[in-house]
């Protein structure tokens, strides 16, 4: 549950939403990308309220869910073609975007292979590519590097950095705190639906006495106790 929550994310940021299990990260992201409707309060994206111009907002955003949101029996190309077409991309433009994207994630040679035959890292990369094919203004990522090898992780982070340089605002959740520390330009740590601390990673580290990295800040704020929340 998320309550008494005020959050403003500036255009062009790489915004890290961090918190232990059950903190409310997925709920918050789900509300921001229109999957859940807040019982009270409102969410504005580029100044537009979700409930007033839903389709308008959905055109601007991209979502990369934590699960591999792909059809296992479709090939990489077919998945990208289908999801790309939902953003009105078609014909040569769509084909070019798919091929360029596949090249970026080093999977061009695998475009006609079915997703069910891909490794975890390959699926993760296609999962990311599906969410950015339409060049969104704002990209939501829920644990985009979970369960992948270092090489795949690097590819993903580099692509995200490249997108951000081109102006895409990135909103991202992760349990990889060192990754967040180096990747994010702005971080908010939340727990039990409330904001505990926000700022750049340096600001957060300096604000906690004796902390040398984000992990120590995180533990100081959220405690050492093991969480059983979903």
């Amino acid at each position: 549950m998320v309550r008494d929550f005020n959050l403003k994310i500036d255009r062009g940021e790489i915004f890290g939403l961090l918190g232990p299990n059950g903190a409310g990260k997925t709920t918050l992201i789900s509300m921001m990308c229109g999957l859940l409707t807040p019982t009270s309060g409102e969410i504005r994206i580029s100044g537009i309220r979700f409930d007033s111009k839903r389709t308008e907002i959905l055109k601007k955003i991209g979502v990369v869910p934590q699960e591999y949101a792909l059809y296992p029996t479709l090939t990489a190309f077919e998945n990208l073609e289908y999801f790309g077409s939902l953003y009105n991309l078609h014909g040569k433009d769509l084909k070019n975007r798919i091929e360029k994207g596949l090249e970026k994630v080093n999977l061009l040679d695998y475009q006609n292979r079915r997703i069910k035959d891909f490794s975890g890292g390959m699926k993760r990369r296609i999962n990311l590519l599906t969410g950015i094919l339409h060049k969104p203004e704002i990209l939501f990522l829920d644990e985009p590097t979970v369960g992948v090898d270092i090489q795949s992780k690097d590819v993903i982070i580099n692509i995200l950095k490249g997108l951000n340089k081109q102006g895409t605002t990135i909103i991202y959740t992760s349990h990889h705190l060192s990754e967040a520390q180096h990747f994010c330009t702005q971080i908010t740590i939340i727990d039990r639906g409330k904001i505990l601390m926000e700022g750049t990673s340096d600001e957060l580290i300096h604000s906690v006495q004796g902390a040398n990295n984000l992990e120590e800040v995180f533990l100081e704020l959220t405690g050492n106790q093991v969480r059983n929340d979903a």
Partner: protein, 430 residues
């Protein structure tokens, strides 16, 4: 439009790569159509056309046994068996052979049946003639026998326990008819003997009252009903409704894979996504319909079955298929919406379809069901579909005649679809 076409393309590719789903959609209804029609046709032949062996134990050795054998030989449908392994069959062995399933029927004519029957008929004829004062003989009075109906030994018919009641009744009726003929012949003969006259031998041939069998259809170009005309529309409908299984699985899978999340966060309406599924499965139903018609038209004759010819009713049949497909799609969407896992949706969809089929008169015609089931059958959309098919094919009806069934089918789609929408809205899924 572009998004809709992409959705249809995606659904078709997903189906083409699902061998199990394709089997459910095309192979299973085709196999069912052929096997059930063959079984029903052969069952019918066992009772009506093929030669059936019947064990006869004639302990009477009189006129009755002889007449029964003559009549049976004339019919050509029954072969009389009196020996088993070169040994004459007695009552005990006959019973054993039938109970072991070696034969389905055994007839045992008890000793002295002909004589007792003769005595009884003689007595009755004498009584009648006396009442008409046509005979005044003292000897007749003396000879009036006291043999009553109960004293005449009964013919025993042993039936195989596995023989169904319909089969038993059919055989029993035929034997009763034969015995009644024997009795009538005897009465005539005794009357002739008593009165000292001889009538034409052909007098008793055939029935005095006969009937004309007329199929009450509208117009002149209707199709004569047979097992094929009943089975083809029935199994076309069953195949159509079985799409609830792959469609339900498709929707559940989409929810569980996370692809539905991606779709919901894309600028595409639920109407476009669901229309993609509706159109795809409608196309599947039309392909099923064409496949079943082709099988019934061209494969049936190769298997010794009568080919199915829709005649001038193809357009009306197509309309029934489209409306039934909508009803099935609505149900599939509802099942996919309500169920949370494939393990729930697959068996639930399959069993529910079989229940609807049984209730709707696909397996057994509604008119032979118990009264309660007949009343319940009207709630099955498959009953509306099959009624519409029968009205068109067998009763030579037109679209006006099936408007009620078509309305019910499309209402069923509307209700199930709206219910799915409501559930999705309530669960914040659309």
């Amino acid at each position: 439009m572009h998004k809709l076409l992409a959705s249809i393309k995606k659904e078709i590719i997903l189906l083409m790569r699902d061998w199990g789903g394709l089997g459910i959609l095309f192979l299973m209804p085709s196999i069912l159509l052929v096997t059930i029609t063959l079984i029903q046709e052969s069952t019918f032949q066992v009772v009506g056309e093929d030669v059936m062996p019947v064990v006869l134990v004639d302990d009477d050795q009189g006129d009755i046994g002889k007449t029964i054998q003559e009549n049976i030989a004339k019919s050509g449908a029954i072969e009389i068996v009196t020996e088993w392994k070169n040994r004459p069959i007695d009552e005990k062995l006959a019973r054993q052979l039938v109970s072991e399933g070696k034969y389905q029927i055994a007839l045992v004519i008890p000793e002295g049946l002909s004589n007792k029957l003769d005595d009884r008929i003689n007595t009755n004829v004498e009584k009648i003639l006396k009442q008409f004062s046509m005979e005044e003989s003292d000897s007749a009075k003396e000879n009036i026998s006291s043999i009553t109906k109960d004293e005449i030994s009964k013919i025993k018919i042993f039936f195989d326990p596995a023989a169904g009641s319909t089969f038993r009744n059919s055989v029993k009726n035929n034997i009763e008819k034969m015995l009644s003929k024997v009795e009538t012949q005897k009465i005539y003969t005794i009357f002739e003997d008593q009165m000292g006259i001889r009538t034409d031998k052909n007098l008793l041939e055939g029935n005095a009252i006969e009937f004309d069998e007329i199929i009450a259809q509208k117009g002149e170009d209707g199709i004569l009903p047979n097992a094929v005309q009943h089975n083809v529309p029935a199994w076309i409908l069953f195949g159509i409704f079985f799409i609830v299984v792959p469609l339900g699985i498709n929707i559940v899978k989409e929810k569980n894979l996370g692809t539905f999340i991606r779709i919901r966060t894309s600028p595409v309406s639920y109407a476009t996504i669901i229309s993609g599924k509706i159109i795809t499965y409608l196309i599947i139903c039309l392909i099923q319909f064409a496949l079943m018609l082709l099988i019934a038209r061209f494969v049936f004759p190769l298997l010794g079955l009568i080919p199915f010819k829709p005649g001038s009713h193809l357009f009306e049949m197509l309309i029934v298929v489209i409306f039934s497909a909508f009803a099935a799609i609505g149900l599939g969407i509802l099942i996919g919406t309500v169920c949370k896992t494939q393990e729930q949706s697959a068996p639930f969809g399959a069993i529910f379809t079989i229940i609807l089929a049984a209730l709707g008169g696909i397996w057994v015609p509604v008119f032979v069901m118990p009264e309660v089931m007949q009343k319940l059958s009207v709630i099955s959309p498959m009953n509306w579909g099959i009624s519409a098919f029968y009205d068109i094919i067998l009763r030579n009806g037109n679209l006006g005649d099936i408007s009620k069934e078509l309305l019910l089918l499309i209402l069923f789609f509307a209700v199930t679809f709206l219910l799915s929408l409501w559930i999705n809205k309530r669960n914040n899924l659309i």
